[in-house]
Symmetry: C2
Subunit: 140 residues, 2 copies
Amino acid sequence: MGKVRGELRSHCPINFGIEIFGDRWTLLVLRDLLLQGKRRFGDFQASEEGISSNILAERLDRLTHYGLVTAERVAGDRRQIRYEPTEAGRALLPVLVEMAYWGARHDPRTAAPKSFALAYEADRAGLLRSVEAGTNPSEG
Amino acid sequence: MGKVRGELRSHCPINFGIEIFGDRWTLLVLRDLLLQGKRRFGDFQASEEGISSNILAERLDRLTHYGLVTAERVAGDRRQIRYEPTEAGRALLPVLVEMAYWGARHDPRTAAPKSFALAYEADRAGLLRSVEAGTNPSEG
DNA sequence: CTCTTAACTTGCATTTTGCAAGTGAATATC
DNA sequence: GATATTCACTTGCAAAATGCAAGTTAAGAG
């Protein structure tokens, strides 16, 4: 059961996001969901950062609770649950892309290929569209 | 003393940002710094979310450690310390703007004026420039 | 001097995180 | 159809982070 969180500290539009995904794991789940096409519990667990199962379960609950994600059992294999981003979840893609660009430019050891930052700089809107369509060539 | 953090979980460009500002307070400090023009310890403390002084001190330390912020004593009043964003810190502005837009569009009780989301939709690049210049009319 | 201001520190209770192991239901295998 | 395996969690508990209140130190004001 997703624990219902109390009052927000403020309704500053930046704070709103922080209250939902301002922690060390939630944005990684959203990254996997929106950029890597992952849809299942085990997929998220398999990411290199190594989220543990109790944390992952709580975050998926919270994302569902806040309407960024939906969860449903898979017909054909009722053990599985498929997580899908909602419109509100997909609307976070530009946030992720800006963070990725910042990381690509400021982490001296970044794993992002140069082509990503270059593509961003050449045509941000185009990059966003291709990432949205899942046809972006400059990601792992 | 800023505690030096250990190894990063990964060099995914999104994770890099999370490791630095993925918590409930750091982005609020950056918001105050980049969007509200706040420069002093007491200014940050005065924000409506109510950060406590030990947390604030630790976050400022960390931001300084990671090179997003500089700290220096004010000549003329050596009690004061002035915090300034670096280039890397200012480069987070687009991330904050995307988060603000998302919050403005998805928090039903958002404090953001409609003009902000409308200005974003009409001319994102122009909004970014005006926010960068501190001449943005659609913020509190 | 004494008082006040500014920027922290410290102590401690509460909450969150993280690891390892365990559970229960559904499906695959023998 | 009994057994093993997969999947998505739960549970227990130690460790770390957070949050509140009060205290400290250095500098400037009166």
